[in-house]
């Protein structure tokens, strides 16, 4: 059953709902054994720009007996028409309702997508709570970075998958194949997979709270469930599956380009950054592999731009070799090379040259803090000189658009630190105008973007207090008043969204009631400013009898944290050490300078090479 023409002609961007894109997989649903609905809880254009979806889509579909199809959150206009017309949520490849599938899998990329997770379950025609879903309902699972603290969603999900998809998904699919052939209840399947790395079955654990609502215990209540759930990690990316094609959308999406994941993890150890820690250890792909993949991707997609994706692309140990190779291979084919996540201090002039020969994108730097003192507190080892020098080199290479990322509300922050943000942005403008006139073809354009600091699990700042919305807003205005130069565009993120995100990020199971309440009050697309309504959340919290401020304050070091039962590889001792060092404004060198003992080498059971082995192993 596909959605009708009549409905499609009534909605904005009907291309979101029709499928038929280039490189999608077509299988006969009658012949496959396992149907998997990969659900991205946001609109099509956002989900289709996500590399993880492409990766897992082709990873799962390489198994002949599995058919993985894509599902995105229908835009409100379509959602309303679907409800009016009793049209249940369907997958794009076949148009079939996903409530008939074997698995419904959500990727949790950001906390503000949680209401869309519930909305999609409801649109699919399924009860929200796992315990209310019967045997004929699909198994509902969820993975992605937010799964490292899955608790706010725990009562809605049958099992979480924590870690690298490539590590244990095949085992889960194998187990399901056997299970389905033999017949059996869903619970029996969950019992079978509970001991697999990365698998967390919420129903097999119990949480207990004290009178103040603080978590006092979190223990398994089923023999199959381990006391500690260990993150699934692939030891090497070089041998791991990587798709040699990507689905090419027919309509415009956020990122219309081929994407190369060059490495996972990060050596830097910036103390606010969850991704840097939860994706450790650093594992690189060799430049030979990447260059081959780049060529194939461009052949199969026809994209005009290729993007190198990682947490800090300049830290790729063979960056110059890769940049050289990509430019040689792709410049004649008129493919632009885009570099997000560029660290200003690591960009060499020659690398910049090679990458900018086709078309110039803007360069992005993330000083995060305006003052050196605060940069030291957050362990962003970057001096003002390095920032200016890096920008200088970029300007000389012909870049005239720079994006700067800052955060307000960082631990120990003072007004002086905030004013330093404006001063830094302005000194970059001054730096541009030091270039001789002939080299300045256009006025420089600096975008300074200030987000609100959100303490995240598995970072040294997981105990930190988060500023209130009012404080964030005062700080944002303070910076705004300081920025005078017209070449600077100052942007800042909504403080109230940040506070809700902060609550969910460090939340526990009691937030499930809040999520269900806010969903029923009509919340959806909360990561979109025009759709986020703080009033609904306030009401939802009140109705659930939960105080959001209980989650945003500073956490005592001895407190049991809702995510403590998960081992992401980074040890709590290490995080505590770093938290202490932060308060002393002591920096910690990056992994290739000195090992700080984060815990990953003992987790992996082998010494950590900080990701440099991949290209060294290959004969030169």
């Amino acid at each position: 059953m596909r959605v009708t023409d009549e409905i499609l002609l009534k909605v904005a961007k009907p291309g979101r709902y029709v499928g038929g894109e280039i490189n999608t997989v077509t299988k006969d649903p009658a012949v496959v054994e396992t149907r998997f609905a990969f659900c991205f809880p946001d609109v099509y254009e956002v989900g289709m720009s996500h590399l993880g979806l492409q990766l897992l889509y082709f990873f799962l579909n390489r198994r002949p007996e599995v058919y993985c199809e894509r599902v995105f959150m229908p835009w409100p206009d379509m959602g309303a028409l679907m409800r009016e017309n009793d049209l249940p949520l369907f997958a794009l490849e076949t148009g079939d309702p996903i409530k008939q599938f074997d698995f419904i899998g959500f990727t949790l990329q950001y906390e503000m997508s949680y209401t869309n997770v519930l909305a999609m379950l409801a649109l699919a025609g399924l009860p929200l709570r796992a315990e209310e879903r019967g045997e004929d309902a699909p198994l509902v699972c969820a993975g992605g970075p937010c799964a490292c603290n899955p608790e706010p969603l725990a009562p809605f999900i049958d099992f979480f998958y924590i870690g690298d998809g490539e590590a244990a998904l095949d085992d889960i699919m194998d187990a399901y194949r056997t299970h389905k052939a033999q017949g059996g209840a869903k619970r029996a399947f969950l019992e079978k997979i509970a001991s697999l790395p990365g698998v967390y079955v919420p129903a097999f654990y119990e949480a207990a709270y004290d009178e103040e609502g603080a978590l006092v215990s979190f223990t398994p209540c089923h023999p199959a469930a381990p006391a500690v759930v260990k993150r699934a990690i692939v030891p090497s990316l070089e041998e791991t599956f990587f798709p040699d094609q990507m689905i090419v959308p027919l309509i415009e999406t956020v990122h219309d380009r081929a994407t190369l994941e060059i490495f996972r993890g990060c050596i830097r150890g910036c103390r606010f950054c969850q991704a840097g820690f939860i994706y450790r250890p650093v594992r690189e792909r060799s430049p030979e592999t990447l260059l081959a993949q780049a060529g194939t991707l461009v052949d199969r997609t026809g994209h005009e731009e290729i993007s190198l994706v990682s947490l800090s692309s300049c830290d790729y140990s063979a960056f110059d070799v890769l940049a050289d190779g990509l430019a040689t291979q792709l410049t004649p084919r008129r493919v632009n090379i885009s570099l997000p996540s560029l660290r200003v201090d690591a960009v060499s002039a020659s690398a910049l040259e090679k990458l900018t020969s086709v078309r110039k994108s803007s360069l992005t730097f993330a000083p995060e803090a305006g003052s050196q003192r605060l940069r030291d507190v957050i362990n962003k080892n970057l001096t003002e000189d390095e920032i200016l020098e890096g920008c200088s080199r970029a300007f000389e290479a012909g870049f005239d658009r720079v994006k700067l990322y800052f955060m307000t509300g960082l631990p120990t922050e003072t007004d002086d630190d905030l004013m330093a943000v404006a001063r830094l942005a302005e000194s970059i403008v001054d730096q541009y105008y030091r270039l001789p006139r002939e080299q300045r073809r256009r006025p420089v354009s600096i975008t300074a973007s200030a987000s609100c600091f959100i303490p995240k699990p598995f970072t040294p700042f997981q105990w930190a207090a988060q500023d209130t919305a009012e404080t964030f807003m005062e700080k944002q205005q303070l910076i705004k008043k300081q920025i005078q130069k017209k070449q600077i565009t100052y942007r800042y993120h909504d403080a109230r969204t940040a506070v809700i995100e902060g609550v969910l990020a460090r939340g526990d199971r009691r937030l499930a009631d809040v999520l269900e309440n806010v969903y029923r009050l009509g919340a959806a697309f909360d990561s979109w400013t025009e759709h986020f309504h703080y009033g609904l959340w306030e009401q939802a919290f009140a109705e659930a009898g939960v105080d959001p401020l209980a989650y945003t304050g500073e956490r005592p070091l001895e407190a049991l944290l809702p995510w403590d039962f998960i081992d992401m590889g980074v040890s709590k001792d290490f995080l505590r050490r770093e938290w202490t060092r932060a308060h002393q404004a002591l920096t910690t060198p990056h992994c290739r300078e000195a090992c700080a003992g984060c815990g990953l080498s003992s987790y992996m059971g082998q010494p950590c090479d900080a990701g440099t082995a991949a290209h060294k192993a290959k004969p030169q």
Partner: protein, 235 residues
């Protein structure tokens, strides 16, 4: 550098892809096909590919046109074959010919378009008028010298005479109404407005019709000829 005209059809799922997105679809198809398309000079080089006339979102197009400039020589078979090997479902390249010496660009060349639709059945009876009846009604409309309709312009609602932009009206054997209307950068009559006007004048229900664009024409000495003309058209 050779300029080519290509003819393509857009149907099925592709109907829901808008004009700008279709441009990107073609650009990527051309790249996947490895065709030696020529690029513009300047700061932001783009491939030399453009459409004859934009198509509204949701409308199917049977014979639609674009022009593409190739850097090296290709044959018509190569061009259509390689494109079709890489187009998405719903997009089929049905013909190609080199641009003629001195021929205007495909957008400037376009003078008229044929659109078809089916008359909706009457709400009460569920029936449509018969062939003769419709043909008579269409002839009657063509016989009118002036057809005034309110048209929305930048300065508000104005009465405009659309009769000069209606070149022909006919009924097909399968009961489809075909309108040949002015189309192109010089003169353009919105097909939805035209269809609406026709149905009102014929005192027929005017909602729920689905328009299809059948063909684009150049004006060759007063005769309308399809932009890619496989055979001689009778006047």
């Amino acid at each position: 550098m050779d300029k080519w005209l290509i003819r393509f059809s857009k149907s099925g799922t592709l109907r829901y892809i808008g004009h700008l997105d279709l441009l990107r679809v073609f650009q990527r198809t051309i790249r996947r096909a490895g065709l030696p398309v020529a690029y513009s000079q300047g700061f932001n080089p783009h491939s030399l590919f453009s459409f004859a006339l934009p198509l509204p979102l949701g409308m199917e197009s049977v014979n639609d046109y674009a022009e593409i400039t190739m850097e090296n020589s290709v044959t018509a078979e190569e061009l259509t074959g390689r494109l079709n090997a890489h187009t998405p479902r719903g997009l089929v390249v049905t013909g190609a010919r080199p641009a003629m010496k001195g021929e205007a660009g495909v957008a400037a060349l376009t003078a008229a378009a044929d659109y078809s639709f089916f008359m909706p059945p009457a709400a009460d009876s569920g029936a449509c008028p018969g062939t003769e009846a419709i043909t008579d009604m269409l002839q009657a409309i063509l016989a009118e010298k002036v057809i005034t309709v309110p048209k929305k312009t930048k300065s508000g609602l104005h009465d405009a005479d659309i009769r000069p932009d209606i070149y022909d009206l006919r009924l097909t054997p399968d009961h489809g109404i075909v309108m040949r209307l002015a189309a192109g950068s010089a003169r353009f009559l919105n097909p939805a407005l035209a269809a609406d006007t026709l149905l009102r004048r014929m005192a027929q229900p005017d909602s729920g019709i689905v328009l299809k664009r059948l063909e684009l024409f150049k004006n060759e000495n007063g005769l309308f000829k399809p932009l890619i003309d496989a055979c001689i058209e009778e006047g």
